[in-house]
Every structure is written in structure tokens, then in C-alpha cells.
């Protein structure tokens, strides 16, 4: 062999060695990727592979006690755009313009959607329009193939068939805020709303159910290869909730307040079921679902009658003379007076150098007539005899000064003052004037219409500690338990019942009127609470009539009642804000509500039991279902 051949062979073998090393390096790299980093890459591969599309759970429906739907889901056609699929900013705007033209949107809403689309996330669908008609939906479905990133969708939208009458109780749902999205990223989906007020807010978790997702296997271009069934991702529909409310009575009660600001509560005293929880005026919850316009919202906000405010549970008012019912019980229980004892009413009552006025000159008056005619002087005397602590004790026993858990937010606690409370809040000691003010339900005393209804229920039930209930079954429902006895003597309560019977049925009663049902009577108590201070100068010149005062300085009119008188079953509390005297403003409204309640007697009718499986599948299509029964 020649030298160059020898050299070649030597170098060939040497290079083969290098080649072998290079192949070993490849083998080592394989081991590194496939053995040591295997689990990491397996995770990355599965993340690559799947795409989750949120599948909103059907929100739980809300029914009244007889199954009338109060909050339902109706089929909703909408069209959304995914910016990432469209691409450039300009294309997104052009697409929105084109879609808007096809479905006939007005210029303002198109501009609003464009504005929203600037800040929305690239990969999350942005809603262009919701609540499309079938015609609009068909059109956009036909043309959407021509637009990249435009998706016509069929989903569910919340609907409140009875609107305003239940606005405060049910509340409403709306798009999630960015904070809510942080808590639950699924809420970014344009088909999902979250509860913002009322029951929708407090029972958000049971109502919303569990949002699911469709798991798609996607290829590298984001195209769907196939759907992957994953049972853990199936949406779970929200729980149905049945309220104790009777929708028909609620609507009737709400309708009593046309042009007025007020609230009404009706309770079944045997069960504590709230049959009516109305607050007027109210707002249209349906307007909030897709985002309320700023003009509409400021109209609600600037309305003097405060339509956004749930007065029945949140509003607290001086109970005025309605408070005399339990003050009578306090006086009898504490044996500071007998039913027969009379007090002389000259029309005013002097304590030190202060003069407290009465609505009339009643002369010698005992308890029955003092309640019937609402004599202030009689009760001034009782207040002086009782003192703050004893009055507060009885007021608390009869349900005032305590918040009730109805399962909706904003239940007010009210105020039942005593010496400790006053020292803490006003920083001065308890004075005789405080007792005098308190006994007629003025001064610091404050109670919500709900609390007044509870008070009436406890009086009507001859001293049972009735507790109100709003949710009959479903999430947040409280089991019915027998109510405890307050411990008041039956004969004392009979005296008060008699006085309240007098108010509505005897001559000289402050709210005497025929109920209009043969053989059925109700018993009640009026209240008129001042919201302004009447100066001595005004009193000398004659107290101004309510009609001559600006609306917000007029008296609040109150009325509590129960019936039938012979065997009490229902009670009612009505407050008319700045409506004038209780006998004129509140009592007729309460009487109308009580009459309807007594005629219907809803407490004896069978209760609706939702079929959970059917509720999950049902979507209520009728937009204007009325509580016709």
C-alpha cells in the first residue's frame, strides 16, 4: 500500500471515531429530551392539544310559592367577535361595521361596541349584539361565513317576567366586573352574567351552578379537530329557588303605590312566610342585564323616590303610633297600669318646662280607647312610668332592633334605643324626654317595614316569636321550626287586640272602614311619623298641613294590621314615605292588600315543588308571562 493509502486508512478510522462520538451525542440528547424532560414536554404537548370553550351553566330559575316564574332564562341569540381571529385593529372595526349593517344596529350602539372592543381581550369573544330577533340571527348566520372571527351564538339570557314588582327582591344580573373576572375567569364569556343585587347576588353560587366547557382538540392552526368528551366539564345547572312570596299579591301590593314612594310587607303568622315584600317605585331589572344606559341609570339615581332602594327591608322609619301596640303590652306586662285605669288627656303633656302635644283632647281615657284614638298623652304617661329599658326590652321581644336573615342582602337592623345605646351614640345620658319620645315611636326609634310586619305577626299570634322567611325551598331555605313563646300574658294581648280592633272597626278609630268581606274583620294601628321638627312658633300659628309642605318634609304614613280578627292568620305592614297621616295614606292601601290576601288565603294552598331535572332543561320562551291565576 502506498503512503497516502495508509494515511487515508488511519484518518478514516480516526474520523469514524469522531462520527461515533457525534452519534453518541445525538443519543444522549434523545435521552435528555425523552427521559429526563419527558414529563415537562408531555404537559406542553397536552396544553398544545386542547382548547376549552366555556359552556355557561343554565342559571337556576326563581319561582314564587305557586311556581310563577320570577327569574327565568330565555333563549338568546347573539353575535360575537373574537379579535384574535380577525387580526388587525382596522379589520375588527370594519367587521363590526359590516355586522352592524346586516343586523340593522344603530350608529350609537355600533360606536359603543367598537369602543368596548378596544379594551376587550384578544382571545375572548366580545359581544357585538345580544337579544337578536330570529330574523336578525338568521341573517347573520347566513353571512357570518364571509367574516373571519364573527360567531353567531345561541345561548340563554336572564329574564324577569314580572319586572319591577320583584326588582328589589330578585335583584338582577349583569356583566362581570374586572374584579369578578379575576375571581372566576369563566365569567369573561359574553353569555355569562353574575348577580349584582338582591337574591341574584346573595345566592349567586347556588344559582349559577357550575360553568362547564367544551374541550376541543385543536390543531396547530387553531382549527377544531374534534370534540373531546370530558364528563368533569359538563355544566351543572344552577339550583331552582322557590320564594315564599305570592306573585299575585306582590303585584297587587306594588300597584297600590302608583305615584307614591312606599313599601308593603305581608306575612303568614303561622309559618313566618313573607307573602309580599314590595317596595315602590322600583326599577326594571331587565334593563340592567345587557348594561343599562347612562341616561336610564341617572334617571333612577336622581329620582327623589329612590327606585333603586329596597325600602321594605333596608329603609328604617320612626314607627310612630304603630309602636303604641307593643308599648301597651309593655305597660301591662310590667304592671305599671291596668286596662281599666284612666289617664286624663288635656291635649298636651308637660314634663319640666317642655310641652308634649297630643292629636286631640281625649279627657279621661283608658287603654282600649287610647289605642283606638291613638292618644299620645296616655302613652306619654306610660313612657314615663316604664322608662327606656323596659320599653326597649319589650320592643326587642316583639322583633324590633334585630336584623333577619332572609337570604338577600341589605336587611336593616333598625334602632331600639336604651341608655347604653344613647351614651354610645349621642354621648349623653337617658332623659325622661327620651322615654316620652320613644313611647310614641319617635325620637331614636327606627324600624323597617319588615320589622313592623314581624311586630304585627308577634302581636297577632298572641306572643309567638314569629321569624320571617323568604326562601321556601332551594338554596338558602330555612327549615320551618315551631316558634317559641315570647311569654306575654294572653289577657294582656287580648286588650291590645281589642284596641287594634277598635282602630279599624269602632267609632273614633283612626282607620275605621269596612273591609268588604262579610263577617271578616281586621285589626290594625295607624302611625304618622314626623320627619321634621315642628317649632313652637309654628305650633302657635297652626301646624302646616302636609299638602302645603315640600314632598320630602311631609309625614310618613304607617299602618300595621292583622286578620281575620277572630283567628289571626296574616299580618301586613305598610309605610308610605311622606304620604301624610297613616290613616289616610297607609291604611287604605294595607286594607286593599289584606282584603286580597284574606280572600285568596294563600297559606292554605299547596306549595309549588320544582322539578329539578325539568328546571335544568327548560328555557322559558314567553317574554310576557303574567301572574294570571
Amino acid at each position: 500500500m502506498s503512503d497516502k493509502e495508509v494515511l487515508f486508512d488511519r484518518r478514516a478510522i480516526l474520523l469514524s471515531g469522531f462520527g461515533g462520538l457525534a452519534f453518541s451525542a445525538l443519543g444522549l440528547r434523545m435521552a435528555q429530551l425523552q427521559i429526563f424532560q419527558n414529563s415537562q414536554y408531555r404537559t406542553e404537548a397536552s396544553e398544545n392539544q386542547f382548547n376549552l370553550v366555556v359552556l355557561p351553566a343554565s342559571r337556576g330559575p326563581v319561582y314564587d310559592r305557586f311556581g310563577i316564574p320570577l327569574a327565568v332564562n330565555r333563549r338568546d341569540f347573539r353575535v360575537t367577535i373574537i379579535k384574535d381571529e380577525v387580526g388587525r385593529r382596522q379589520d375588527v372595526e370594519n367587521t363590526i361595521d359590516a355586522v352592524g349593517a346586516i343586523i340593522g344596529m344603530d350608529v350609537v350602539s355600533i360606536a359603543k361596541v367598537k369602543e368596548q372592543s378596544k379594551t376587550s381581550l384578544r382571545f375572548v369573544p366580545t359581544q357585538i349584539a345580544g337579544q337578536l330577533s330570529w330574523e336578525q340571527y338568521s341573517k347573520i348566520s347566513l353571512y357570518s361565513a364571509n367574516f373571519v372571527g364573527v360567531h353567531p351564538e345561541m345561548g340563554e339570557a336572564r329574564h324577569y317576567p314580572l319586572g319591577e314588582a320583584f326588582a328589589h327582591v330578585i335583584g338582577y344580573v349583569a356583566k362581570a366586573t374586572s374584579e369578578e373576572v379575576k375571581l372566576d375567569p369563566a365569567t369573561n364569556n359574553p353569555g355569562i352574567r353574575v348577580g349584582k343585587e338582591g337574591l341574584e347576588k346573595s345566592q349567586e353560587i347556588p344559582l349559577k351552578g357550575r360553568h362547564g366547557a367544551t374541550k376541543y382538540e385543536v390543531n396547530a392552526h387553531g382549527k377544531i379537530a374534534r370534540e373531546v368528551y370530558d364528563p368533569s366539564l359538563t355544566p351543572v345547572p344552577g339550583e331552582p329557588i322557590v320564594l315564599t312570596i305570592d306573585a299575585e299579591l306582590q303585584q297587587l301590593a306594588y300597584d297600590q303605590f302608583v305615584g307614591e314612594s312606599g313599601s308593603a310587607v305581608v306575612m303568614d303568622i303561622q309559618t313566618g312566610d313573607i307573602l309580599v315584600l314590595a317596595s315602590a317605585p322600583a326599577f326594571d331589572p331587565n334593563k340592567f342585564i345587557d348594561g343599562i344606559g347612562s341616561a336610564d341609570y341617572s334617571a333612577y339615581l336622581n329620582n327623589e323616590y329612590r327606585p333603586l332602594y329596597h325600602k321594605a327591608i333596608r329603609g328604617t322609619y320612626p314607627p310612630g303610633s304603630t309602636f303604641k301596640t307593643i308599648m301597651s303590652i309593655a305597660a301591662l306586662e310590667n304592671q305599671v297600669v291596668t286596662p281599666e285605669e284612666t289617664v286624663f288627656c288635656p291635649g298636651s303633656y308637660r314634663v319640666g318646662n317642655a310641652l308634649f302635644h297630643c292629636g286631640g283632647r281625649h279627657g279621661n281615657i283608658a287603654m282600649h280607647n287610647a289605642i283606638k284614638a291613638s292618644c299620645d298623652v296616655y302613652f306619654y304617661e306610660m313612657g314615663k312610668r316604664l322608662g327606656g329599658e323596659k320599653m326597649a326590652e319589650t320592643a326587642r321581644k316583639y322583633g324590633l332592633g334585630a336584623a333577619y336573615d332572609l337570604g338577600i342582602p341589605g336587611v336593616a337592623k333598625g334602632v331600639i334605643p336604651d341608655a347604653a345605646w344613647k351614651l354610645n351614640r349621642v354621648k349623653t345620658g337617658w332623659e325622661i324626654y327620651d322615654s316620652i319620645n320613644m313611647v310614641i315611636g319617635q325620637g331614636y326609634v327606627a324600624a323597617s317595614p319588615l320589622q313592623l310586619a314581624v311586630m304585627a305577626a308577634r302581636i297577632a299570634s298572641f306572643g309567638k316569636a314569629v321569624v320571617p322567611r323568604l326562601i321556601k325551598s332551594g338554596a338558602g331555605a330555612v327549615p320551618a321550626v315551631p316558634f317559641a313563646n315570647i311569654g306575654s300574658k294572653l289577657e294582656n294581648l287580648q286588650v291590645v287586640h281589642g284596641g287594634m280592633f277598635g282602630v279599624t272597626n269602632e267609632g273614633g278609630g283612626t282607620a275605621r272602614a269596612d273591609l268588604g268581606i262579610e263577617g271578616v274583620q281586621i285589626a290594625g294601628k295607624t302611625g304618622t311619623s314626623q320627619v321634621r321638627r315642628i317649632t313652637m312658633a309654628e305650633r302657635r300659628g297652626g301646624v302646616r298641613s302636609n299638602a302645603s309642605l315640600p314632598w320630602k318634609f311631609r309625614d310618613n304614613g304607617l299602618f300595621v294590621c292583622f286578620g281575620p280578627f277572630d283567628s289571626p292568620r296574616y299580618c301586613c305592614a305598610v309605610v308610605v314615605e311622606h304620604g301624610g297621616g297613616g290613616g289616610r295614606a297607609a291604611a287604605p292601601r294595607a286594607r286593599a292588600i289584606m282584603k286580597a290576601t284574606l280572600l285568596k288565603n294563600p297559606g292554605n294552598m299547596p306549595i309549588f315543588e320544582p322539578n329539578r331535572a325539568a328546571a335544568a332543561a327548560s328555557t322559558d320562551d314567553s317574554k310576557t308571562k303574567k301572574a294570571g291565576r
Binding site: I35, N38, A45
Partner: protein
């Protein structure tokens, strides 16, 4: 005994056929079948569009290989320079009249035939250099002056091809040329000097002469997360596919990365990544083992050949196959920037299979004619001391 009986070869056609390396044929067939299985899977279990083509082509190319092997080795010796010249002219032709496809000028259309001249150059450069060194009879072969011509012969077409731009093929030709010069016996000092200047040249080329996409590829290789959904995408997806395969693979046609298009070019340059995903490290080592066998046969043929032309020819082709396999594997495993480099016999593609099978035909040819003496210097062994 395949390598016995030196000097007593029967040069009848039958004798030549008997001397063909049938073990090598077996290895090639196994690799091609492996490739066919993969391509069948890549098309979601269809013979169309790749698998059937692949195996039919192989059958035809196998005949071509035998023909190339049986032609007298002296024919290849004589055509070495003309073939090189023609390839070079074609490359220049591509530069002047070439068809632009996928952003690169690589194809030359002659009537109905589309030619990729750089593919020919891979083989003709080996033939040319083998002939050059066969003809070279000097005392001091380590001296650089004897190697200047072969270096130029390799570098000129390499530079032309890189300009097309086809960095992969250009590099292959430069590397094959360099290894042949090294095997021919240039002194190690010059090898070291060449490596040094290659590194410097690389930097200069990177800064001044590279196309943007090539520069980007290298930057992306150095840091794939720089642009995970753009240039780094291929590397990232390929690594995910390989890494998720594990030791035993995720199973045939179950590779989610490959089947769902995350893996780019899964039937051509990234077919080995699909193999590693579906058949795991075991399947990968099997493929590498088959390649090692092919390359080993080539080197064995080179060492056992008794003419220098045959030695360099077989060695050059082994180097070529080695470069193909290692660059492709290194690229898909993220050890190298992405360059257009198929995996021989696994990747789909007629042009590449033609050149590979032609090249292996030449290895077989060297085997068949291992005892032939060649060229103008008959008895050169006696003349050189």
C-alpha cells in the same frame, strides 16, 4: 465471505452482481420501510399522498443503484470532471435563469423536468475530488499547495449554493470537501487553521452576507423563546413532540403533535421528530443504528478498496450520509439551527432519494470494483516511495 479473495475478482456480470453488498441493500430496505410506515401514519393511515410514492420510488431507485454499481468504475473516474463541470454550470444557470420557489432560487426548469443542481453537486464534488487525489502523486501530501485546487473546487459551488440561498446544502458541500481534503492527508496544522478561519468566517458571514431569514434562524436557535410562535415555533414544537414521546413513544399514529399539525413538515424534514414521538427513544435508536450500519459499510468499503479513487469515493459518500443524518437529527432535537435537511430514506422527496441511492450505488460500485486499478498512473503504487 464478502471481503476475501483480493485480486481474484471475476469481472463477469454475474461475478459483479455476486459482489454487490446485499447486507447494505437490506439495511436500505429496512430504512425505507420504516419511512413508509411513518409516511403512511403521517397521512392519517393513507397510502396517498406519500407512502406509496415513497416505496415505489425506492424500488425504482434500487434498480438505478444496481446499474450505477455495475458500470465499470473507470467510467465514473472518467466522467468525474465533466460531471462536476456540468453541475457547476447548472448552479450558475440557476443563479441566472432559476425558478424562484419558496423564496429560494434552487430549481432549474429544462422543458418538463425541474432540476435541483445543488443535489447533483453533492455527489459530483466527491467524484471530482476523488479523481483529483487519485491523479495526485507527490512526495509530501501534507503540504497545503496540493490541496488548494480541491478546496477551491468545493468552496466555489458551496458559496454559490449558499447564495441561492440554501445554507444547508452549501454547508454540506463545504463539509464534504473539507473531510475529503482531511482524509487525503493535509497536515493537521492546516486543519486547525481552517477550523479557526471557518469560525471567523462564520461570524463575518453572519454579520454581512446572510439573508435575514438565515440570521433569524440562527438567533432563534440560540434562543428559541425569542419568538416562540414565529421562527422558534418549529424548534419548540419539534422538541415538544420528541420530549413527549418518552422511551417507548406514544404509539403509532397517536402522536398528537404530529397528527394535529403542530409539527411542521412532518413528512419531510421533521419526519424523525414524528418517529421519536410515536416510537420513542427505542424507535429512534433503531433508526440511528440502521444509519450507523449504512455508514459503517461505506467506511469498510473505503478501507478495503485497493484503488484510491474508490477509497475517497466511498468515504466521501459515507461522510455525506453521516452529515445528512446528524444535521437532521441535531436540528430537530434543537441542537442546531433549522436548515433544510431531510433524513435520508425516511423523509419523503424524490430528489433526495435519487441522490442518496445514486450515491450508495457508487459505494456498491467501489465494493464491486475494489481490486480494479484506475486511471493514467497504472502501477502508481510502485512509483511512490
Amino acid at each position: 465471505m464478502p471481503f476475501s479473495n483480493f485480486g481474484q475478482d471475476n469481472n463477469s456480470l454475474f461475478g459483479k452482481i455476486k459482489r454487490l453488498e446485499w447486507g447494505l441493500v437490506l439495511l436500505l430496505t429496512l430504512l425505507t420501510c420504516y419511512g413508509t410506515v411513518l409516511l403512511y401514519g403521517a397521512a392519517e393511515g393513507n397510502w396517498q399522498p406519500w407512502a406509496l410514492d415513497h416505496i415505489t420510488r425506492f424500488a425504482a431507485m434500487l434498480c438505478l443503484m444496481v446499474i450505477v454499481a455495475l458500470i465499470d468504475i473507470r467510467f465514473w473516474y472518467y466522467v468525474a470532471y465533466p460531471a462536476y463541470a456540468i453541475s457547476l454550470l447548472l448552479i450558475i444557470g440557476v443563479d441566472l435563469f432559476g425558478e424562484i420557489s419558496m423564496g429560494a432560487q434552487r430549481w432549474l426548469r429544462l422543458g418538463p423536468v425541474r432540476l435541483q443542481p445543488s443535489e447533483f453537486m453533492k455527489i459530483t464534488i466527491i467524484l471530482a475530488l476523488a479523481r483529483y487525489y487519485q491523479d495526485l502523486n507527490v512526495r509530501n501530501i501534507a503540504a497545503i499547495k496540493h490541496h488548494i485546487i480541491p478546496i477551491l473546487l468545493a468552496l466555489f459551488p458551496a458559496a454559490m449554493i449558499m447564495k441561492q440561498p440554501d445554507l444547508g446544502t452549501g454547508t454540506v458541500i463545504a463539509l464534504v470537501g473539507a473531510v475529503l481534503v482531511l482524509l487525503a492527508g493535509v497536515s493537521w496544522r492546516w486543519v486547525a487553521a481552517a477550523m479557526g478561519s471557518a469560525i471567523i468566517g462564520g461570524f463575518v458571514g453572519f454579520t454581512y452576507f446572510m439573508h435575514d431569514f438565515q440570521r433569524k434562524r440562527i438567533l432563534t436557535f440560540l434562543n428559541p423563546e425569542r419568538d416562540p410562535l414565529g421562527e422558534g415555533y418549529q424548534i419548540t414544537q419539534s422538541k415538544i413532540a420528541i420530549g413527549s414521546g418518552g422511551v417507548f413513544g406514544v404509539g403509532y399514529m397517536r402522536g398528537t403533535q404530529s397528527q394535529l399539525d403542530f409539527l411542521p413538515e412532518r413528512h419531510t424534514d421533521f419526519v424523525f421528530a414524528m418517529l421519536l414521538e410515536e416510537f420513542g427513544m427505542i424507535g429512534g435508536l433503531l433508526a440511528l443504528g440502521l444509519y450507523l450500519g449504512v455508514i459503517g459499510f461505506g467506511i469498510f468499503v473505503a478501507i478495503s478498496s485497493r484503488n484510491y479513487f474508490g477509497k475517497l469515493l466511498a468515504a466521501g459518500i459515507s461522510v455525506l450520509i453521516f452529515i445528512y443524518v446528524s444535521i437532521n437529527a441535531a436540528m430537530i432535537m434543537g441542537l442546531m439551527p433549522v436548515v433544510g435537511m431531510p433524513m435520508p430514506l425516511l423523509s419523503y422527496g424524490g430528489s433526495v432519494m435519487l441522490s442518496i441511492m445514486f450515491a450508495i450505488g457508487l459505494v456498491q460500485n467501489v465494493k464491486v470494483h475494489r481490486n480494479k486499478t484506475i486511471g493514467t498512473n497504472f502501477g502508481s503504487r510502485q512509483n511512490v516511495k
